[in-house]
Symmetry: none
Subunit: 131 residues, 4 copies
Amino acid sequence: MIVEINTQDAEPIYEQLRDRIVLGIASGELTPGEALPSVRRLASDLGINFHTVNKSYAALSAEGYLVIDRRRGAVVARPPSGTSDARSTRRLLLAAAEAICRGTDETAFLALCSACYQKASGRPSNQENGG
Amino acid sequence: MIVEINTQDAEPIYEQLRDRIVLGIASGELTPGEALPSVRRLASDLGINFHTVNKSYAALSAEGYLVIDRRRGAVVARPPSGTSDARSTRRLLLAAAEAICRGTDETAFLALCSACYQKASGRPSNQENGG
Amino acid sequence: MIVEINTQDAEPIYEQLRDRIVLGIASGELTPGEALPSVRRLASDLGINFHTVNKSYAALSAEGYLVIDRRRGAVVARPPSGTSDARSTRRLLLAAAEAICRGTDETAFLALCSACYQKASGRPSNQENGG
Amino acid sequence: MIVEINTQDAEPIYEQLRDRIVLGIASGELTPGEALPSVRRLASDLGINFHTVNKSYAALSAEGYLVIDRRRGAVVARPPSGTSDARSTRRLLLAAAEAICRGTDETAFLALCSACYQKASGRPSNQENGG
DNA sequence: GTGGTCTAGACCACG
DNA sequence: GTGGTCTAGACCACA
């Protein structure tokens, strides 16, 4: 899995990494039971501080995306189905509001949502060839 | 428009306020051309420092949601239609990934998106009446 | 002479007006000896506070662009030739620096300067038809 | 790079600093990729508040002259070549108008522009050695 | 140790 | 009375 970190982004590095891992799980690049690289190894590969990687793993563990196994390190879990995440819904609500402000109608918004779903699931639509 | 600020939240106050105003514009609670309260007035009403309100207004102004008019203070604008926001799309992509991880299929995800759109537009669906 | 005021601009109204009058003198729209509208009249025409117009006139008077005649009001003067203005030179220096940062070479910069001179003098070049 | 701040000046301190940094980039005193002092350090050196320096950095970042890197602090960038800046052109137009009002002909004006360009680029002409 | 956030209060420019 | 600027100092997030 390719991870790109942008240290000039407003989003903290540990969140960028956390988000990338979530995307990796959603797309199937990471499968439940799979072990992630060690904190030090991944930090070295990405050229970042290992404390930062540690923070990402801890956050993902708290959210149920990972389990920290004493012997195998961080292992991909699968959060219980049907759970709803308040933060996620809030994100969605805000994205909708911003779309409305830009004059996007519901049909166009849902088309965009669908495209994002496809992309996140690792089955990018035709329009995604360029990106 | 009712604004609730949670000073315990990890999200900065100025961003909470910024988001609330975007939601207000989307829902029609705030209409283009309408003047917002002065920074000092709103700060006083919310029990926060006026610099914090100022930062929200400045951010919204930079994003095109407000214009700072010398005579009228902060006035609601409307960002150019049809523009797309990378940050917004990124939020959507992540929300989709998180939904996928929770086992939500595309149909259910789009239903959630639709509900959010309705709610943001100020026309909450039946399920949303309570929230 | 057409004066357009933008109350949403970062530049103060009185300076916008001051600048517009300088441009009017440079282009010949306003000629030495000509009387400007009264403070109250111009304020009314522009829909701004007369104190603001007063401040513009006072600034122009202090710079030698106008003389305030007790009977005729504000009258266009002509500052002594050959004077150099530190503020103006500083503006030029900064404009040059910004051009350099954008990768503009000296030839292109001087072409831009020349176009501005032509435009300010009321003899806009061919490229200015659209603007 | 030597920075001189005049707290008596009508121009805000953060703008004076912003302008000085732009001049520094243009002249080559600051090179792309170079890290600037931390806001607190520079503030301390200049005897001003760190919030003021922060405001300069934020403005320069918004204009593309700097990027704020999470690990290295403020780093000199280079704005995309070929872009044009309305504010800069406006400055130029006004400088031309003021020159015309002083009776400066186009040749003399362009000579002044050229001198400014040379000075800003760090290669001052002979006349400018003293300034 | 860095920048980010928030508070608090003073003074000024503007209209 | 409005926003803009500046100062001062505290606490926190980040790396």
